[in-house]
Amino acid sequence: MRLAGSGIFDMNLGFEELLLLASIVVPTVVSICLFTGVVTSDEAAKKLAYVGFGVPFVSGVLLFLWFEGAVGADYKYEVLFDRTGLQELGITFHLGLNGVSSPLFAMAGFVGLAAGLAAIHSGAERIRLYLALLTLMQAGLMGFFASVDLFFYFLFHEFALVPTFIMIGLWGGRDRRSVALEITIYLTLGALIVLGGLVALNVMGDAEKFDFPTLVHLLSTTALGESAQFKIFGLLLLGFGILVALFPFHTWAPRAYSAAPTSVSMLHAGVLKKFGLYGLVQVAVPLLPSGAAQWSDFLIWLALGNVLFVGLVTMAQNNLKSMVGYGSVMHMGYCFLGVATCSALGAGSVVMLMTAHGLSVALMFLVGTFVYRRCGTFEMDEMGGLGTKTPVLACFFLAAAFATIGLPGFGNFWGEFGIFMSLGENPGTRFALVLAVIGIIISAIFGLRAVAKVFFGEQTEEFAEFEKENPVKDLNLVEMLPAGLLVAALLLLGLWPRTISDRVNAEIGNRYQAFESSVPGSLPACCALTAEEPEVKEGIETNGAAVEATEESSKPKAGDHD
């Protein structure tokens, strides 16, 4: 492990480091230009916005491709400025990517470009301001995945969060004001709690710096006490839980997503919401292993709330956009389950699922909006029969729906499968496996229900009425481009998961191994990673019960065709 920052002041940046820096600086500069009115025409603003979203995309892809052999707990492409003015407080501007953040960083670039393209061609009013806020958001998103310093990690998140409030307030749909106010307060509260947790981590760890490697180094040599870990992890979990929409803190999300303009929903649900999970996987669990272990059982139940409770609520949605919103909250439950296993497998699978889910939920919001443009509504009961008119859109929608459902061939499958695997690894969490797998039925129900309601069957009267005035056309090239981008990435992850899994594995394996050995063997049963031979017997017994449950719950569900 390399301790970065001890006196290093490296201004001789290479091309890669510059690229990393550019992914944050360029959208910020674009945003400033648009804000300050340097650019006066809408056309020029759009051109500039291409740059603002294009650079992070290129940077994300290139840095992803160039990222070689992760060594674990080490960062590539490091950029470090010591003199932030806050160096006395241990705050340095420190960027870099490791095996966990690099796939997410690339994903943020992908989703950002797709959302940006959608925004540029959205025809929104006051487009310059809209793009200014969106590029600012993009800068923040790229920033928090690239930050090594916890302070900037948090700060960049706020960069991304603030514009969402404003954009929902100004360009949102129904109830935009109350939604904007509600999530402003609520999410800020969550962020504050996170901040409290991070500060506590720093203070308790006696760290002189907010630098992540410093903390790792410190805490792996002298772990915090049990109760301190319990408190800090609880704080972080609460804060991150609010931000990621952990049950029962989730209700803001569907409301916000259905009110928000498409590009904001795409970026928020796809990328911004991953902030909390990323924090848990990258920071909280490895640094506070015993804290995580103590909260694990509790977290499993909350996460099951996401999968089952929110899953059922999703099935009751007739509005396409809120269905997508609820669906995304439901799938966050899988991520939390993976986190709750406190295992390398769980954490690695969470990263896989986060990456894929970011792409798929963005795609879902995007194609949902395409449907809206053609039907004039998000109410699924007022659509129908769109498939014959827009076969290409139907194709993309099917791809999005089946990616969400977790069909093999799309990236989501491997993430979900890995999480199921991680739940099965330990006999203590096998009950959660059985409950969580019910989710694959639930997502199939709401996903296919949407496909059938929108594209299959006969056209409804409302839609026929609307179509008279607004002739329906299939996707044009401008619409196909962002959707195609996302589908291609999802397929790549699905067909060749090792695109990301190898580096995630190297990084996670190293990190989680490090803490496993550092914790004085007092992990509770559910978090013990050494569960092998002696527990096999127990496993078989549990298994009998599990199968009974299988039989039980498979019977009444058999007719779920609506």
């Binding site: 407080l89 404003i166 497998l345 093999p408 199939a444 899994s501 299988t550 058999a558 779920d560």
Partner: protein, 626 residues
């Protein structure tokens, strides 16, 4: 994965991708691409089947060790893409299925050229067929439960797409959704079974598992076996998940023939045969009973159907029940043999039905047909061969495979035998019923009276399948490489006592069924005579024991209502109290702040500021260490 296996999988995938990307608008080219792919698959499969058998002896030693590409590795979880046609253990079973899939698949592709000639969605249809071939070959060749599961889901997807071919109809829309979701219910257990297998046995590679189990058979548990069998129950539409298959007939008829009769539904049986070593005696008897019950139940359901495809669908359910029963009796070779002969004769009959439907302008009600024997002689005669084969008429293919199951049951499990035997009489009865009503007598509607024989692109597949249905039971006619999978268990059955009895009983079953139905339906009009003669039986059979009604009730009245109640609860308590509550409390502070400086949205900035100050304060250590 060696080069040939890889190519075999790539051909249909490439075909599907080409169609999707380039020939979406051009159905004609799409259909040729897909048929050419199916032809190439057939050739390559035959090459694999026959060349490997020569080399298997020399290479069998190291074949198992050879493993595929690592597909995914996270921590202690690793997926290796094992496609091991070389594995002598799995060899025979997969070769048999490979032959069935590629051969019947090719014939059905060719048939589709005629059947779908004028369809607007032709390109989508043939693309779907290619995806299906890809997924089905994947299941056939995979040697690893996780890889099987991947393709398992993909056949489910292609089945969904093809059932939804006429998606503008409500019927197809509902049926496709139902098929996928019900299959997911089965996959629920299957997935759990796979996960537990991985952690309890340390591997999901079938060759390794079989070695483990051979070393210590006591490690098998009924729980895991039954969890894995859930996959079979969903895919092969056995109790209690049988409801999707009859509805799936909403898809084009060749699809029903290929997916919902000959191959995909039979994949469930194949799965069982691949994991047989994981089954305990209890699990086996459970499957045997389940299968036998379906053999009889579906027969009764078929008895009163009017739709030619529904009759065949229920008959498929029933025959799958026979295969399951055979597996449960420990005779998996016999089950696979029946799988193969069933693929011939049921594929034949579905295609025959397709030929009829095609020339009768999509009339599917057999009571509106009649007299087709003279209008469509090739279709009628080949269909008759199918009927004779499935009824178990002596020396037709079904006779050998089904009577082997009956004889096995007779010696191993008498209750199962009784149920299956009743089912056999019923089979002959309802299959001949179909034949008498649809093909004999006088035409009962205009379109039928004007029907013409289908073009030769459709009749040739019928003829080829008819030949196989007729003679496919003779062991001597099968190449050794293909028959090896059936060989051992068939010989076990041949060694059992009671052959003569079985010949008498078997002959009685089909004669009774054929004559009985001739008597009842020989002069049928537009209505089902059974309705008058035995109204109680008719009602009972029509009700299908209310499975659909119960599930519908569950979905509309329980599941959907619970979902709505939860939605309301969520709004009231979580959203109302917790979020608004806490937001309200925080909002009070914000209000406080606002009165100092800021506007509504910017109340946020105030909080942020406090946060930063707090952060700096902590960092500077103003609050001391807690």
């Amino acid at each position: 994965m060696d080069i040939t296996t890889g190519t075999l999988l790539l051909i249909p995938l490439a075909s599907a991708a080409t169609i999707l990307l380039f020939f979406r608008q051009n159905g004609k080219i799409a259909s040729y691409v897909s048929v050419a792919a199916a032809g190439a698959i057939l050739l390559l499969s035959l090459q694999i089947i026959f060349s490997e058998s020569a080399s298997a002896d020399s290479e069998s030693g190291d074949a198992i060790v050879d493993s595929g590409v690592t597909w995914l590795e996270i921590a202690d979880f690793k997926i290796v893409a094992d496609f091991q046609i070389d594995d002598p253990e799995a060899n025979n079973e997969s070769k048999a299925l490979l032959f069935v899939v590629s051969f019947v698949g090719f014939l059905i592709h060719v048939f589709s050229l005629g059947y779908m000639a004028d369809d607007a969605g032709k390109a989508r249809y043939f693309g779907g067929l290619s995806i299906f071939m890809f997924s089905m070959l994947g299941i056939t060749l995979a040697d690893n439960l996780i890889i099987i599961f991947v393709f398992w889901e993909l056949v489910g997807f292609s089945s969904y797409m093809l059932i939804a071919h006429y998606f503008h109809t409500k019927e197809a829309s509902d049926a496709s959704k139902k098929a996928f979701i019900v299959n997911r219910v089965g996959d629920f257990g299957f997935l759990i079974g796979i996960v537990l297998t991985y952690w309890i046995f340390g591997t999901v590679n079938l060759s390794e598992l079989s070695q483990l189990m051979a070393a210590d058979p006591a490690r098998a548990t009924t729980g895991i076996a039954l969890a894995l069998a859930c996959g079979f129950i969903g895919k092969s539409a056995q109790f209690p998940l049988q409801v999707w298959l009859p509805d799936a007939m909403a898809g084009p008829t060749p699809v029903s023939a290929l997916i919902h009769a000959a191959t995909m539904v039979a994949a469930g049986i194949y799965l069982l045969a691949r994991i047989d070593f994981l089954f305990t005696p209890e699990a086996l008897s459970f499957i045997a009973l389940l299968g036998a019950a379906m053999g009889l139940y579906a027969g009764f359901c078929a008895l009163v159907q009017r739709d030619i495809k529904k009759i065949l669908a229920y008959s498929t359910l029933s025959q799958l029940g026979y295969m399951a029963a055979a597996f449960g009796l420990g005779l998996e070779g016999v089950a696979l043999f029946h799988l193969a002969t069933h693929a011939f004769f049921k594929g034949l009959m579905f295609l025959g039905a397709g030929s009829v439907i095609h020339s009768c302008h999509h009339e599917q009600d057999i009571f509106k047909m009649g007299g087709l024997r003279s209008r469509m002689p090739v279709t009628a005669n080949t269909f008759l061969i199918g009927v004779l084969a499935i009824s178990g008429v002596n020396f037709f293919s079904g006779y050998f495979s089904k009577d082997a199951i009956l004889l096995g049951a007779y010696n191993l499990n008498l209750p199962v035998f009784v149920v299956l035997y009743l089912g056999a009489i019923l089979t002959a009865f309802y299959m001949f019923r179909l034949y008498w009503i649809a093909f004999c007598g006088e035409p009962r509607s205009k379109h039928v009276a004007e029907a013409n024989e289908s073009p030769s692109v459709m009749t040739w597949p019928l003829i080829i399948l008819a030949v196989l249905s007729a003679i496919g039971g003779f062991e001597a006619l099968w190449p050794e490489a293909l028959f090896a999978a059936f060989h051992t268990d068939l010989h076990v059955v041949h060694g059992m006592p009671g052959h003569l009895w079985m010949v008498v009983l078997g002959t009685f079953a089909w004669v009774a069924g054929a004559l009985g139905s001739r008597r009842l339906y020989g002069q049928a009009g537009n209505e089902d005579p059974l309705m008058e003669k035995a109204p109680a039986l008719f009602q009972l059979c029509s009700s299908k024991l209310f499975f659909d009604e119960i599930y519908n009730f569950y979905v509309t009245s329980i599941q959907q209502r619970v979902a709505r109640i939860l939605e309301v609860l969520e709004l009231l308590f979580i959203s109302g109290l917790m979020v608004r509550g806490s937001a309200g409390a925080a909002g009070l502070f914000a209000l406080f702040g606002k009165s100092f400086y800021l506007g509504r949205i910017h109340g946020y900035a105030f909080w942020f500021l406090i946060g930063v100050v707090g952060f700096l304060a902590y960092a500077a250590g103003w609050f001391g260490h807690f």
